[in-house]
Symmetry: D2
Subunit: 247 residues, 4 copies
């Protein structure tokens, strides 16, 4: 799984504060320099004022201003099941690699057994891994080796079958029915800070599956560069609290 | 694939018209009998007036009133790829059978080869089927039989591998990575007439995949019972037009 | 302000539980009687099981099932500013009485001074009322009487001016520019239990304005009849907590 | 009314095409230079290819990629009724100047009669103006002068009453109930190209009110600088068509 920032609104936290100040000023923010608009906010420097106002807004639950900047990320190689969880979020925009138009006819099945094209879950290779609703306790090495072998053979054969069906003239949109749910897919996603914080409420939570948790942490890391004050506050004061009603 | 109506707002088209009339009346619809509210609408009977007003609203593009009634459908056994297409629609509500909590450990792999648990696309059994981006022209019987055999053997083995991994203590949420993308999933969906018409704009279209097209037609059939005037007009005047900007 | 329930999904809490159970059952809820689907839920009676499952879902933050039922309310006579706050909620559907098509040319301005057509805020008549950002402390009777007189004369004259402009041939959509922001408007709103709980998170809060707070309480009262277990839990466990990220 | 662009995603149309190409490429767009990703698109230059792909996407109704870039505009001085129409759009983000926190206690009522603080509709000053549902035909000068006088006197007095009520200790959130619906409000709005095209479908239409039509044209003009290919195509091929189902 890789995540890369493609584009992001510049000066995002200035934009958040400018928008928030619009609500409380009689003057027009379109005509008001930022430091004039922020005059009534505590802080010695503009950066301190940005930090203070952002903390106030998040503390008070005034989230609207956090919808104005947006960032677009390219995500490589998450599983189809992770993609299905991610695209359930309404307040994000997605482009998803289409298996109707993209056929994996040139992938070497042997490479698939080594981890190409299909995401290998940690529990297929890591004996210490404990996943949700897992029956067994600690796994002896032999069982672990067997798991790995079964998993790798299975995904390899599935890709062989898929390529064979393509060769027999089956349209890619139907041949994909035999590909594993772990098959990788590339996604482009656009979020604003508010929607990312909501996604993180749900997907960085301990009971989220490991893959989307990892993806969410990578998005949060990138966002912390982009909106440092916002995600510093989120990390310290809001993360891992029980998710509320956000649809 | 089966679709069953679980619950639906009663008197949906009265509600649509009552809501629309609210916009144009000085009196309160909460206190105004329907036939008084519809007095200015052409038609000899209430049903004729409902039909006329609904046609006017759809012709004029006044769609808001069509958001008030809602219907909830239980959908059985669509493929994971169909589910992924369906859940991309923001203006619908979903509950999706979770493969983190539901393990298919008791399904007989032999039955899977016969069509259980995994959706068999038409192109796996029907020689006349032509799907999108399909390479080959007409399929000779031998190729057809080979397709069917490869498909059935593949989905059977995948389920065997999945059950073996469960037996080796892998959590269901990870073992599912080897299950085929064609694996069936049950979904509960709630839509209002407006969002269903938008879904149909996109998914009843000729270039939509056969499975979600079939699902959409079943939803439209059920909706035609529920909101006859609305979906009669949709079918005659709006269906199969190029989809517009609906997000 | 009056609120009346126009239509609401029947058996809403059965539908919520049926939808939730879909996520955790291998059998299809479309074919499964409710009590079979609820077999694994604690409780001696179906009603107890509904109550327990609903509490579990809300406690765990599994809110999706609460989107399936919906209720449509007719609201009479809220101010334009209350309507502007209400219609900011994305996950609700609205029809709003249009002042482009509805002209108040036959309202008696004298009646407007007595409270017709324009909402009179409590601070215009109640000396003990303390509103947000209010400068003065307790109000002597004389000031109170003056407030009431100024308010009533103002709204009366505004309506007279409006009717005069209509008489001078000004289109209603422009003449309304002189009508007071307190002018009443009728709204039809459809919400599901989840979106109503989110609206209540924001609008039943102490810092919301008195009018939308009162409206929200009336909606919650009606909803408590419709979904008793859901709104009993909301009232006891969730109401007045700080609103989170819901867009 | 003034509109100013505060921030906008850079290279928006590259981002649109990059996101669209993600759907049809087996390689990852995060690792693929734009011109490689666009290799299969007709055109001699990158700009030509961008234009061609954007036209193809809009023609085919593949709108998702147009959700990734976003632009934030500061809007000055639209009427409360225009704001109420604008904020009905779900797929945009808003910050609205709050009359609970911003009191117009220092505005000179005489200036209000001259057009300050309250939007003067064209039909109050322009004899040739014909508005929706307008009774009268052409307006003689005397009637026109009367209209103007009535309008100006009315808005002046309303602001005087408002300031008097503030002086009598009424909280701004209640005193505003006497301010005219034409009172100006500043709004910050964020849209993506897709949501702006939908807003324009509805608000640039001939039957939209003059004020939001003017606002929409200003937003479209700014957007044409920002996404030239997209809005050139929109203007030529899509604008003024009947709006479809967009919620």
């Amino acid at each position: 799984m890789r995540v890369r920032l493609l584009e992001a609104t510049e000066n995002p936290e200035e934009l958040i504060c400018q928008s928030a100040r619009n609500d409380y000023m009689s003057d027009w923010v379109g005509d008001t320099p930022l430091d004039t608009a922020m005059a009534s906010v505590d802080g010695d420097t503009t950066d301190e004022k940005l930090s203070n106002l952002i903390a106030q807004l998040l503390t008070r639950g005034h989230y609207g201003p956090f919808e104005h900047p947006s960032a677009t990320f390219a995500i490589e190689g998450v599983s189809r099941s992770c993609m299905a969880q991610l695209t359930r979020h309404r307040h994000a925009s997605f482009d998803v690699q289409s298996m109707r138009y993209v056929a994996f006819d040139d992938v070497d099945p042997a490479a698939v057994a080594e981890g190409e094209l299909v995401v290998t879950p940690p529990s297929a290779t890591d004996p210490d891994w404990v996943g949700r609703n897992q029956d067994a306790g600690d796994i002896d090495e032999e069982t672990m080796a067997e798991r790995e072998a079964v998993f790798q053979a299975s995904v390899r054969r599935a890709v062989e079958d898929y390529q064979e069906l393509l060769g027999l003239g089956m349209p890619p949109e139907d041949a994909r029915f035999v590909l594993p749910i772990g098959t990788e897919v590339n996604v482009v996603i656009t979020l604003n800070p508010r929607s990312l914080m909501h996604v993180a409420d749900m997907r960085a939570a301990a009971d989220a599956q490991w893959e989307i948790r990892e993806l969410t942490e990578q998005l949060l890391d990138a966002a912390a560069q982009w909106c440092p004050h916002t995600f510093e506050y989120y990390d310290a004061e809001m993360k891992h609290r029980k998710n509320r009603l956000a649809p």
